[in-house]
Amino acid sequence: MTYLFQILNGVGLGMLYFLLAVGLSIIFGLLQFVNFAHGAFYLLGAYLAYEGVERGLSFWVAMPVAAVIVAALAGMTERLLLRRVYKLPHTFHILVTVGLALVVQELVIIVWGPLGGNVAAPDELSGVMILGDFIYPEYRLFVIGFTVILAAALWWLLDRTRLGAIVRAGSESPQNMALLGYDTLSINTAVFALGAGLAGLAGALAAPIRGVEPFMGVEALGIAFVVVVIGGMGSYAGALAAGILVGVAQSLMATLWPEGARLVIYLGMAGIIMAMPRGLLGRA
């Protein structure tokens, strides 16, 4: 029965990992841009939600506001800085975004201090669900449900709308899209803002679970990359499958091999890279 509980817990964890990774997958998939500042947007989203709640806003307001602000800031950053390095090799993407991540982290420390803080789950979700011996926080259930809806909405947006078609076409053939009169630069800005906004949303949602502290972006970035690599760079469905796989593996290992629960994530990634270099569902 413990294993069943761990699997259920792992699915919940996996949905959070998917939410964390999907923005990164979208940015890489559509822009072919390696964004090492992804964790910084997650960090910023968490702290903006924290600040909103500290100032008396309801969590239900602070959370989306945080995501929108992160998206806006990311859009500005893309316009002013990142689009200058798109055409350069990936190493330049990494250099610039790592630098950006460090700047964001230090700014967070300057503004909010180095010690971190706590964000309470909304009162409506502060209880637990009990099913026999299985106990699960209501807030984590909400995160699972919310992520499922968000995943469906993203799929619909990117796969079933004209806007999504434009975005995908812009990533595959920017010159042709420019010839057709589309502003590909603005499309890129919108995609980057969307990906970063999703990271910010993940941070805001994670804050009641993990609290906020200035180095949380680093850990998040590591998990996001693992999920994206396992799922396949640029694969949206892959990120979902990989997120759940990683979450379940980590949760099961807490019973089978607790001290190796974290290690198994990275071992799994290494195994997948060797066996399937494009990941589970990566694009060619």
Binding site: M1, N9, P114, L115, N118, G127, I135, P137, R210, A261
Partner: protein, 407 residues
């Protein structure tokens, strides 16, 4: 969360101001002549993940130096040495400081850096006094130059688990969550000894890595074991994460939660009163301790810097003060003389009567069991907990594994 404005104000008031007793970065290369200022090195993590602790510790050292300057009638300079929280830079920078003539050091928040710095200090007849927690510091790795103020794992467990077993005789089933490395193993083996002695059923243990942030799997294990008490043996941000997640799983209503090695006021501020209410915390120091020196420190700091001393500040203040008091007693700042003055020294410290055991250079002091208060019961913004127990428990130097040649 730490009030940022208070933190910055505290930095300005405490760290600057007085002519003597000023914390400076390692750029200072002042004269080391006998009639020059007395230089105390403060090897602390000023950058990196533990920078917050380092910054408070730096302020504590400067505060102690400012107080002692008047008593010694000599200018005292505390030189910050940024260890970055890593043993290699810590050792290198300590060596550089020693090459420039500094012999007295108070710092080393992390055990990994403290162990290497103690050895380096000893090589050159220096003195290194630390608040780091690993048993080895005054155990198997004890050495002539190293002194340690904080209570090691044996005492931490003895003064948290034992009193709780006595307070809750009906709580027979305990579950532990342990970071898998030397420090966690130390706490766990000490806990197991107490469990065995007291007839407690240790219903399970979950190890986790030092990088772990997700504790839901371990908590699910704990829930399945149906314990009366959940004993968290991790520390720092991991203990905060584990506690936060345990509370979110509703475990506070189902069992007693104990955090054996808390970080002190900093941790309470980060977690908040609601989360800490009803949880037991083991602590090296609490600003509510009823001792003359502690009351004086709290009062002075609140008046001058509008802040309450947390563990990082207080620990650094105490060890710097010890070093300076030993210099005054010895009439010399030379390492061997200061060591002699420290060994066997009894004094009134922050926790009341404290004594430095000559055989292993371990300070014999109280360890505290705190219980988180309800927010409505807090008298001020820092009144997060009551002290429910205090006491001294230490292994003998031999049992701790210390084989130190006496001077």
């Amino acid at each position: 969360m730490q009030d940022r404005r208070a933190f910055l104000k505290g930095s300005l008031v405490v760290g600057a101001g007085a002519v003597s007793g000023v914390a400076l970065p390692g750029l200072l290369r002042s004269a080391r002549a006998a009639d020059g200022p007395l230089v105390i090195g403060a090897p602390l993590p000023i950058s990196g993940a533990f920078a917050a602790n380092g910054k408070f510790a730096s302020l504590g050292a400067a505060f102690a130096a400012r107080e002692a300057a008047a008593a010694l009638g000599r200018k005292i300079v505390v030189t910050d040495i940024d260890t970055e929280g890593k043993p290699a830079p810590a050792a290198r920078k300590l060596q550089e400081a020693m090459a420039q003539g500094t012999r007295l050091f108070a710092g080393g928040i992390l055990s990994s850096e403290a162990l290497v710095m103690g050895k380096e200090a000893t090589k050159s007849e220096g003195v290194f006094i630390t608040t780091a927690g690993a048993d080895e510091i005054t155990g198997s790795d004890c050495n002539r130059g190293t002194f340690r103020w904080s209570v090691p794992t044996f005492g931490a467990i003895a003064q948290t688990v034992r009193p709780l077993i006595e307070q809750m005789p009906q709580a027979k089933r305990w579950y532990t969550i342990t970071p898998q490395y030397v420090f966690g193993e130390g706490l766990l083996s000490a806990a197991k000894m107490v469990f065995q002695e007291k007839g407690i059923e240790h219903v399970g243990n979950s190890y986790h890595s030092l990088a772990e942030k997700e504790f839901s799997g371990y908590l699910t294990n704990a829930i399945a074991a149906k314990p009366d008490v959940l004993l968290l043996l991790n520390f720092g941000s991991q203990s905060s994460d584990a506690l936060r997640q345990a509370v979110s799983f509703g475990l506070k209503k189902r069992m007693t939660i104990v955090l054996a090695w808390a970080s002190g006021l900093e941790q309470f501020e980060a977690l908040g009163a609601d989360l800490c209410e009803g949880v037991y915390f083991g602590a090296q120091y609490w600003h509510g301790i009823d001792s003359p020196l502690n009351k004086e420190l709290v009062s002075k700091l609140r008046e001058s810097a509008k802040m309450t001393p947390n563990y990082s500040f207080a620990g650094s203040y105490q060890i710097t003060k010890l070093l300076l008091d030993a210099v005054a007693k010895a009439g010399s700042a030379e390492g061997p003389a200061v060591i002699k003055a420290l060994e066997g020294l009894g004094y009134l410290g922050l926790t009341g009567h404290e004594e430095i055991r000559a055989a292993d250079h371990q300070v014999i002091k109280d360890y505290y069991l705190l219980k988180g208060k309800a927010k409505s019961a807090m008298k001020d913004k820092d009144d997060f907990a009551n002290v429910v127990n205090a006491g001294k428990s230490f292994l003998s130097p031999e049992a701790a594994g210390c084989k130190m040649q006496q001077g």
